[in-house]
């Protein structure tokens, strides 16, 4: 039976969304799934993992893994691969996995399936689809299934796997493997933004981007969201500019959302934003630029100044 090693990534004491999306892909393959989780004081987290249909969870629980050190992770997972001999090593394409997996695959001198949407296995081959040019084209990739393959699954293409409390599995301690030269990387600190809202639950989101203009003007997004009974969302540009806290961010480094209605205001639609919101049921764009990429996925668009359109929208609703 094909054996798949899943890299289990977590944040705020929970498996992250893109890992759960990856677990959906793995479950669909009908393979033996084992997992690895690396950190410190992670017993509780590790014990949750079997509920995602993972038969064996290798737990690397060590103070040296309190913070992420890419070289430590690569070396330790390399040792686990050599011990367990999986056919496939897979991870959700988080920023961490996009850094660690190519390094790991290269250590095994292997080309990889990087950032693919899906995965199919038949008797001889592994196949996957990789988007090119910000999803304007798609490339099919293929490899021999009898060789070791490394894969990262892009966010926003598969539902998150729901845990099944009736499933159980083995938790196995695995010791860190660190070489002296891995100490050329030294973890210093992590600064995480506060999480005080959960925009993933909102049915209606009013979302502001760079086009809003200034921090003061961002109040129009907040006011409209309040008036319509929705929640405030934002693109990374608006968060980086300090107009709105990070927990409102939608996209690659923020949340993935699927509300009934997503109103994108002054958001041009960089691919990093689109991956977080394109599965919204109805997308309304308000933008001055008719050529903005957001219009390629929007259902409705008003070409105009959001500062004039939003108050009028509130009035007419």
């Amino acid at each position: 039976m094909t054996k798949v090693l899943v890299i289990l990534e977590f944040a705020h004491g929970k498996l992250i969304g893109v890992t759960k999306e990856c677990l959906t892909v793995v479950k669909g393959l009908g393979v033996e799934a084992i997992g690895v989780i690396l950190g410190h004081n992670i017993s509780e987290l590790a014990s949750e993992a079997p509920k995602y249909d993972i038969s064996k969870v290798f737990k690397v629980d060590d103070p040296q893994f309190e913070g992420v050190n890419i070289l430590y992770h690569t070396r330790t997972i390399e040792a686990l691969i050599n011990q367990e001999k999986p056919d496939i090593v897979i991870a959700g394409a988080s920023l961490y996995a996009q850094e660690m997996m190519p390094r790991l695959a290269s250590r095994f001198n292997t080309a990889m399936f990087a950032s693919v949407k899906n995965l199919e296995i038949d008797d001889n081959e592994i196949e996957a689809v990789h988007p090119l040019f910000e999803e304007k084209l798609f490339a099919k990739m293929e490899a021999d299934r009898n060789k070791l393959n490394f894969i990262t699954i892009l966010r926003g293409n598969n539902p998150e796997l729901e845990p099944d409390a009736s499933l159980t599995g083995e938790i196995i301690n695995f010791s860190p493997v660190i070489d002296a030269k891995d100490k050329r990387e030294h973890f210093i600190e992590e600064k995480m933004a506060k999480i005080s809202v959960d925009i993933t639950k909102a049915k209606l989101l009013v979302s502001g981007g760079r086009g809003v203009g200034t921090k003061e003007k961002f109040s129009i997004i907040v006011d409209t969201a309040k008036a319509l009974g929705g929640e405030v969302a934002a693109s990374r540009a608006a968060v980086d500019a300090g107009w709105v806290p990070h927990d409102h961010e939608v996209g690659q480094t923020g949340s993935t959302v699927t509300p009934d209605i997503y109103i994108a205001c002054g958001i041009s639609g960089a691919i990093q934003h689109l991956v977080g919101m394109r599965n919204s049921k109805t997308i309304i764009a308000i933008n001055t630029d008719e050529e903005a990429p957001i219009l390629e996925i929007a259902h409705f668009a008003i070409i105009g100044d959001l500062h004039a359109v939003l108050p009028e929208l509130t009035k007419q609703v």
Binding site: A114, L137, A285, L313
Partner: protein, 266 residues
């Protein structure tokens, strides 16, 4: 401090896309080719590091055909001190794994470097794999999505983007970094007329892959068909060229026609 910055030529954002012509070398109009936009942030970072240190140089390296000359000239016009094009016209390169092997070998040949810089991803393939792969082939530490760089003796301290925050790590030099499009290097500099003139007169050395003493194996993963996604069945309903109240009212009508009620959430 000597920095090598790797730049990529890609099909221009405004050029028509053709599944049979996805590489710059497939085209014959130079207008169809651009510098991978993310690489400009890496060039900006490289130039600022050397400017702030007050010594050393920035060498831009590009793997590409003649169509990439424009990209290498733009790197010089932005301020890179030296540039090299590695010719790929005679190579059968099908996977980014092979590209990483070649770029690692090029860095080895240049040899005298402290940092290798990459853009955070490419516009065309967008896999963001190049910095970590090259770092492994050269056995160097790596940090990706870097927004801020400071130095302390033989070490480089970087802030890198993670989901929901930033992580600070310190790496021994030499090291490999990929530069984020946000943060300290968000706004790459413009070229000046004087620099464009200089770049146009600069003769860029061309290296052949065969000179790099690197074995470029057949990749275990192959790219097969490249396809255009099916066109959207439902196009965006665009409302424009009217008074604001009229446009909003047109939107409300269209929403109602689809059975949607934006007022249902109050």
């Amino acid at each position: 401090m000597n920095v090598i910055v790797f730049v990529k030529a890609t099909i221009d954002r405004n050029a028509p896309l053709d599944p049979d012509e996805i590489h710059p070398g497939d085209r014959d109009d130079k207008a169809d080719v651009m510098t991978n936009n993310y690489d400009k942030h890496a060039i900006e970072a490289a130039l600022r590091i050397v400017e702030e240190k007050g010594e050393g140089k920035v060498t831009a390296v590009c793997l590409g055909s003649e169509m990439a000359d424009k990209v290498i000239k733009e790197a010089i016009a932005m301020g890179c001190h030296e540039a090299i094009r590695i010719d790929n016209a005679n190579e059968k390169i099908t996977h980014f794994f092979q590209v990483a092997k070649i770029l690692a070998a090029a860095a080895k040949k240049i040899s005298n470097f402290d940092l290798l810089l990459f853009g955070m991803q490419s516009y065309d393939f967008g896999t963001a794999t190049m910095a970590p792969m090259v770092s492994e082939f050269l056995d160097l530490p790596v940090a990706c999505w870097v927004e801020k760089i400071t130095f302390d003796g033989g070490k480089v301290k970087v802030d890198k983007v993670i989901e929901g925050g930033t992580r600070t790590v310190e790496l021994e030099i030499p090291a490999v970094l990929s530069i984020a499009s946000s943060g300290d290097y968000e706004e790459p500099r413009y070229t000046s007329v004087r620099r464009i003139m200089l770049a146009s007169k600069t003769v860029v050395p061309i290296w052949q892959v065969s000179e790099l003493e690197v074995e470029v194996p057949e990749p275990s993963v192959e790219f097969e068909d490249i396809e255009v996604p099916p066109a959207r069945t439902e196009k965006c309903a665009i409302i424009k060229d009217g008074d604001i109240p009229d446009m909003v009212s047109a939107l409300m009508t269209k929403l109602r026609e689809k059975g949607l009620n934006i007022g249902a959430y109050k």
